[in-house]
Amino acid sequence: MTRLQRRESLLGWAFVGPATAHLALFALFPIAYAAYVSTFKWNIANGHHAFVGGGNYAFSLREQAFWNALWNSFRYTAVGVPLGMALALAVALLVNQRLRGVTIFRTLYYIPAISSGVATAMLWIYVFLPTNGLVNVVLLWLHVNDKTHTTDFINNASTAMWVLVVMSVFTGLGPRMVLYLAGLVGIPGSLYEAASLDGASGWSSFKRITLPMLLPTSLFVLVTSTISAMQLFTPVYMITKGGPDMTTDVVGYHIYTEAWVDFNVGLASAKSFILLVAIAGISIVQFRLVRANLADYSA
């Protein structure tokens, strides 16, 4: 190594130093520390802790409430993410047209995503309120309901999860739309010209050009949306508190309760690790499935 190269190497480390120290302290070390904590029966309120080895993991995997929470997160994700992606793609196609004022709509659609999560949750409580709530007002107009028979969506075990799903579709629209817009820009216009010369309809060129060309974008949106959906917290904390009958007790809220209401940080750490593994597993499956599709198209 020359003196000059050594100087550049030192400079490089000086420049990445602060960020690297921060990464080590607040991202890498906590993972190891969480693994350590997860091997203790540890009450954070009174400080009692005793080593239990894999006991917390064994307990979690036998606990019905934890499986219920995992299942709730899974069904929230399995319904909300594909629904949100389909809508975002449709909206991206809509605002990808050369129309006057279209950028104003793009900006408007992004606003729910930059909004305060707590304020948004308060607004959605109103939207689904039985009396004078927006959805019930519309149902009244459509004569689905009458004034003596309104629906309390939030406190009903069969609809509460839908409240969270609908909310996620709306708040996730903007970011997903922007990613799809970026993907659409990358599709060469010549493909569509060739298709229309061959007499392809709009629908078939969407199916045979747009969708396959967007697969990498879709994979990115799918994986990142799934990771965040599996960790849902604020809307549950604000709107349903996991109820009614634990039907919206998603795993992010379940772990929060375990750690900060019941103070069992050891057990909560074990559950976070199980969640981390579950998310990684789902991501790998998603990668594999999309890769297989990509191979189909290129063949």
């Binding site: 420049f15 047209q97 279209v102 304020a119 004078n132 922007v178 974008t217 990771i227 750490s269 976070s272």
Partner: protein
């Protein structure tokens, strides 16, 4: 035939505008409702749709919220301003230095280190909340500004986004400045940052919005009422006034939302470029 095509073109445009307006209506309805209800007299019940327009708009609710004798809402706001300001400035400085090194300096271990930054983006906060809490507690930082600021002083996402932007700056510019005797810090601040304005603005906007709307961190790392930020403060306000006082609740929500909207509208023209830099390439 030509006329038919023209007609189809117009019909498609009209249908598109109708669809875009409809979606905008759906998305914006709750926000419009929020602003209108905030102007109703305090303690009035939830208005029916046909009574939603405030006949005598009452702008005093904002003052009532800010001067609430039981909850220091103005203090929540001040805390958020301090924390968001410190994190935006600190995170940009720390991340820009790292991004510059990753983009332009050759040093041992660069590839592995960059992979570590990328990998850390896949790990969510759920797994690190407890250890970070325990660490902050052992530093004696719980319930202080340090607990709200220091964990945000660097972000792998910002490092990644800025590195992508810095990579597109022509290398000759830096080399010319170096021959003129400029140090690396001057090259970064004087050439790379100004030439990457869009990415820097996107980073700053995202970071501000992220800190302002962060709920989980302040919820766990603070507990005294005077250290709460707007997001946690709003949830306390909501719980304190239950379902009973929607006009005041909505005024509080407007106060929390206003800075977000302002920063977003200033920063949004860089968004599409910024976000795509951070994801696809």
């Amino acid at each position: 035939m030509k006329e038919f095509a023209h007609f189809r073109h117009i019909a498609k445009a009209v249908a598109s505008y109708a669809a875009m307006l409809l979606i905008a209506g759906f998305l914006m309805a709750p926000f419009v409702w929020m602003v209108l209800v905030a102007l109703h007299p305090p303690k009035s019940p939830i208005p029916a749709i046909d009574e939603l327009w405030p006949v005598k708009p009452d702008f005093g609710n904002f003052g009532r919220v800010l001067t609430n004798p039981h909850l220091p809402v103005a203090r929540f706001f001040l805390n958020s301003v301090v924390v968001a300001g410190a994190v935006v400035v600190g995170q940009l400085a720390v991340s820009a230095c790292a991004a510059y090194a990753f983009a332009r300096l050759r040093f041992a271990g660069r590839g592995i280190l960059f992979a570590a930054f990328l990998g850390s983006m896949m790990i969510g906060g759920a797994a690190t909340q407890i250890p970070v809490y325990l660490m902050l507690r052992s530093f004696g930082w719980l319930d202080t500004y340090a607990a709200l600021i220091v964990p945000g002083l660097s972000s792998a996402f910002s490092v990644f986004l800025l590195r992508q932007a810095f990579s597109t700056v022509p290398a000759e510019l830096g080399e010319a400045a170096r021959l003129d005797g400029a140090g690396e810090m001057r090259i970064l601040a004087g050439i790379f940052v100004p030439l990457s304005r869009a990415a820097v603005a996107t980073c700053a906007t995202f970071t501000f919005i992220g800190v302002w709307t962060d709920f989980f961190g302040p919820l766990i790392y603070t507990n005294s009422i005077s250290m709460r930020t707007v997001e946690v403060g709003l949830s306390i306000y909501k719980n304190a006034y239950g379902g009973t006082n929607w006009p005041l609740q909505m005024s509080a929500a407007v106060i929390v939302m206003a800075p977000l909207l302002l920063v977003f509208l200033i920063g949004q023209r860089y968004f599409v470029r910024g976000i795509t830099l951070g994801s696809i390439k």
